[in-house]
Symmetry: C2
Subunit: 290 residues, 2 copies
């Protein structure tokens, strides 16, 4: 059921997260001081080059550092930028160029680092009491000195789904999408529901269609800012749509031929999701099914 | 592959989340003032009775209200308690009695409400700037008046896995477990990894075992405080274990007969996870496989 390794964008990070080191402040401090560690070079939250990630020798830091892990025998760190990015504009040209061009392993490493750094930059205060927080456990935790609360990086699960009816696939467009773009419906999994219930609810809310037989396909991390995309497929009871205009500007049923044209020839009746988005991988997976 | 409906604890909430109402402050205010709405009766974050959820007529509120949704034609609300519960002690006797006894639909509704209320109680301040936040969108958002940041309820994805080798199953015990308890290994999915990568990493970190062929089984919301449990199964390359003593006090391989004794007769070689925990459902699912 899984696509081939390497086909899932932002997956396959080569780094060893070295969980035990995070809990060892003395060893972390020695790695930072030792002269062998490397710092991920970033411009704010963006890679500085589209062809490959760049690493600098780690000098004594003037910013909060996060410990990314070990790679090729060397400790890897990144520095928390001044500002995060609460509302990442996915169409930012330079960033998208890097996302399309970075080797798969670099893209995965970048995605994890970006989510973590953005979380730090936007979580410098304690949600429980408003006091300042400080990074702990190599950047995998923030602790509040005032009330003692610990805070952990967020990863928000998102249900994203292929909805089938009579051999056709339901794709929709959100108002913020680039021209012609249609993609899989998606929504955050909320407290108190299973992934499968979230799929059913989202399709009902957005397109007014009841679905059944929800099946999980595969998953992808998505670092804008930090989602876990949980790809599913479901069967619709009907092809009659009632759209929620706030969520979807349009939604349509596409044939296999139309999806194949859009994905493979780039000249179909819609502009497909970009190659490293999970929706793209889902459409390719669908075309591969007998 | 899925267990039967009703077999997954905290799943199957009967409430209509009525997403469109959340975005409509005028209609929400009318529902609160209208005299027909009901308030979930809680003692802090706990149900007031173990047999069924209790509902009170909604009077003019002296606490922040969250809109749970519509049920049996009536709007349902809950009030944010003074304090949340950052470190829920799962062995709390009265709460566990309710978890075991509540009808499935009530348990699911309670779980979702509990996660949401606890999030409000522990997120009254802005993580971005430290300013006070106010509930918005019927309690499905908090907005900061100072910096304008919006915050959303957390749902943390957790990988939980059955690890198989030679027909046996790997179960471990954490230091905080009740006496004799062994359960499935589990850990939070981190930024920058897929669910399947999280499974592989967690088993490697906790038990020193390499696994392959990771497959998703089913999911369950878990409201202590707000996890999405993503149940998987994986195959171990070896049965030799190297435990991380901070994470696991012990781990062992159990035969089908031993798991069956523990789950079905309650007198096996280990104390199994409680019936409404996803690990219990996973063990039952495993016993049902041919």
């Amino acid at each position: 059921m899984m696509p081939m390794t390497g086909a899932i964008g932002f997956a396959g990070s080569p780094i060893d997260r070295a969980d035990a080191l995070r809990r060892d402040p003395a060893r972390l401090a020695a790695l930072i001081a030792g002269g062998e560690a490397l710092l991920l070079e970033l411009d704010g939250l963006a890679p500085v080059a589209a062809e490959a990630l760049r690493w600098l020798p780690l000098k004594s830091p003037d910013a909060e550092l996060v410990f990314l892990g070990l790679l090729d025998g060397r400790a890897r760190f990144a520095a928390v930028p001044v500002a995060g990015d609460a509302d990442p504009v996915l169409a930012r040209q330079a960033l998208w160029q890097a996302i399309e061009q970075l080797p798969a392993a670099d893209l995965a490493l970048y995605g994890g680092a970006r989510s973590l750094l953005d979380w730090h930059a936007r979580h410098r205060f304690c949600a429980n009491c408003g006091g300042p927080t400080a990074s702990a456990k190599g950047g995998w935790q923030r602790d509040c000195g005032a009330c003692g609360a610990s805070h952990f990086p967020r990863t928000d699960p998102v249900a994203i789904m292929l909805v089938e009816h009579g051999g056709k696939l339901l794709l929709g467009r959100q108002p913020r999408f680039p021209p012609g773009r249609y993609s899989a419906l998606a929504g955050f999994v909320e407290p108190g529901e299973t992934l499968e219930e979230a799929v059913t609810r989202e399709v009902q809310e957005e397109a007014g269609v009841t679905v059944g037989n929800v099946r999980y396909l595969f998953s992808q991390p998505w670092p804008f800012p930090s989602q876990l995309m949980l790809a599913c497929i479901a069967q619709a009871e009907t092809d009659r749509l009632t759209l929620d205009a706030e969520e979807l500007e349009d939604a349509r049923w596409y044939t296999r031929e139309e999806v194949a044209l859009a994905i493979q020839a780039g000249e179909g009746p819609f502009n497909p999701p970009p190659s490293r988005a999970v929706a793209h991988t889902m459409l390719r997976w669908w075309l591969d099914q007998p």
